[in-house]
Amino acid sequence: MHATLDKESPFEPRLTAFVCNWCTYTGADLAGTSRLQMDANVRIVRLPCTGRIDPLFIIKAFERGADGVIVSGCHPADCHYTTGNYHARRRFAFFKELVEFLGLPEGRITFSWVSASEGQKWREIVNDATARVRALGPFASYPGTALPAFPATDPHPNSIATAKGAAR
């Protein structure tokens, strides 16, 4: 990949991308098979549809250390489930206005439509979003935030599996 995960660089953002299985994930796959070079800062979470993306996913990503989030799915009228992206569009309109009103700066969250054939567009979205978040700096150091990093040793403190493991 591109030499962006440079050890010398003071800050490399971590971005989480919530993408739909049918368009953007396939588009990102196309970008990969086309050997397009792009920033390696994005971790993709594949979901069936943008309509499946609860805004809590995005909040959770920030809680667990993401500096930025990309949400992407099928273009309007292209949804595999016919209307999932229309519903998501309204939900994200509210979400975007709310988190910006709460003081999250524009640019930490990127919304886009990327179809299965738009590998090139996916590369641009990833590179642009990474550049924006890199300029904004780490989310954990955002002034006034009291959001400490999640303990890395115990990623799921409330899960039964972890409790059992600890007992053993």
Partner: protein, 290 residues
Amino acid sequence: MRELRDLAAKLLSEGTVQVVIGWEDGPRGVRPAFVTDPAAARNLVFDERCTQNLVPYLSPRRAHVAKLGRPAVVVKGCDARAVAGLVRETQLKREDVVVIGVRCGGVVADPSSLEALSPATVADRCPGCTAREPHLADHVVGELPPPPPAESRRDARIAELEAMAPQARWTFWQEELGRCVRCHACREACPMCFCERCVADKTQPQWVESSPHPRGNFAWHVTRALHQAGRCIDCGECERACPVGIPLGLLNRKLAQVASEQFGHVPTDDPAVPSPVGAFKKDDPQEFIL
């Protein structure tokens, strides 16, 4: 007032309803009353101290109220929108409740303060009210009082916050939300928060941290506001119930502005009008999507 009491007594003695949910005088201002005896209907009152929305008592979560029998509920115009919301979202059948509407001239923000209605004491939502006469009601009682005083301070405060830099706004909200003790009174007081199991109570996985911690507080207040987006009927109960005075009304109002500006939706007491989340138009605005 006499009209209200006579109507309540009549509904109870005729057996149309088994309980009338209204307001009565208490030791510290007015309080909710559950009148089951026609003779006790003379205790019912309605005036500018009747700030509390009584519609949450119709929520299917309130089994102890449902046990009293078929209810009649006294509503202001704003409260009637909550009845419409419950009917719209199939939590309540319209024919299962008798709605007694009262014509309203505004209520005070803090009913326990015992101060008269004035531009300084009026509830934030009242200035410019368009729902002073409930349309959904089976019976509408009382004369229409003069309109509530003053300009809305709320919209000015939102504009003021929006003019701030994002970081300053973040600091402001972190301080406000930082006081939250996660008692969830905002949820309990809300007529539209009727889920049997709230996402904030889930532990497997835990979506919202339950301790009063900045991280969980942020997640909770984003979630609460978003789940009310386009559904909030603007009764102000969440903010009034908040023991630490978080300006939740600003968040609700902000999302109401989005609903109105982007989707042309205003809170209504017509159950047939769909709420903006759960409906869509193919040409919804999408400038924010690349």
